[in-house]
Subunit: 144 residues, 2 copies
């Protein structure tokens, strides 16, 4: 017998669902040579003012640490997907700016990401994601 609340169950379910979903996106996006996290970074850059962000802000947007961002960006720089730009007012800051090659990959990857989204949504009725859907609507109904 479980003695945990419905909300806690939601979080436990979210945790595994996210693990599974992330793996699927990673697998599909691999065709473009990027991970889901890399896709997210490109996405945030593409939608940012002047297509650039401070590294700290990238970290916050993708939920990783600054150090993780440094490590993630290093290969993207080498591939020429992003480039560094200085901030003239604050020498501590190093902007990450979307480069042309990165934008191209991002735009191509969108189609793949959308297709993956569709596949996952289509399978919502079965398996674990079904639980999610139920709990989400409950959550939507009870929160706030």
């Amino acid at each position: 017998m479980s003695t945990i609340s419905q909300e806690l169950k939601l979080f436990l379910n979210l945790a595994i669902i996210q693990t599974i979903v992330t793996k699927r996106f990673d697998a599909k996006l691999q065709n473009h040579g990027i991970s889901l996290n890399e896709f997210m970074i490109l996405h945030h850059l593409a939608n940012a003012d002047d297509e650039k962000l401070r590294r700290t802000d990238v970290a916050e947007k993708v939920g990783l640490t600054a150090s993780g961002i440094t490590r993630m960006l290093s290969p993207l720089e080498k591939l020429g997907y992003v480039k560094r730009e200085a901030n003239s007012r604050d020498a501590r800051v190093s902007y990450v700016k979307l480069a042309n090659a990165g934008k191209k990959v991002y735009l191509e990857a969108i189609a793949t990401a959308e297709a993956t989204t569709g596949q996952i949504m289509a399978s919502v009725k079965t398996k674990k994601l079904d639980d999610l859907q139920k709990m989400l609507s409950e959550l939507g109904a009870t929160i706030e």
Copy 2:
């Protein structure tokens, strides 16, 4: 301008929210010396028939690979939280069975996990989780 669908946005949001939420649970559960994934394993064991599961089934329930489970269980065995049990009908199978010490830790950790759940829920109105809440109710309304 973003050109991605609402559903894809949901998944991107879920990804970071889950990253953040997992970190919070991990931080709190550290008071009991366990991670969120370890808590999840104990939970599934506590709710399983005879409080035991095949390693493969544990893997499936927490969304990790069999190899990841082998590695996660090793310290839990050393701590005496779980123990191995053979299957008399199939020698390939090694059950993971919840031990007394593990059950004790699990029951204590539930309180912490519930408190953490409450804290997260309370902050839903602000920040990223607010986006989630909105999207979740939309999702709940549109899916199926």
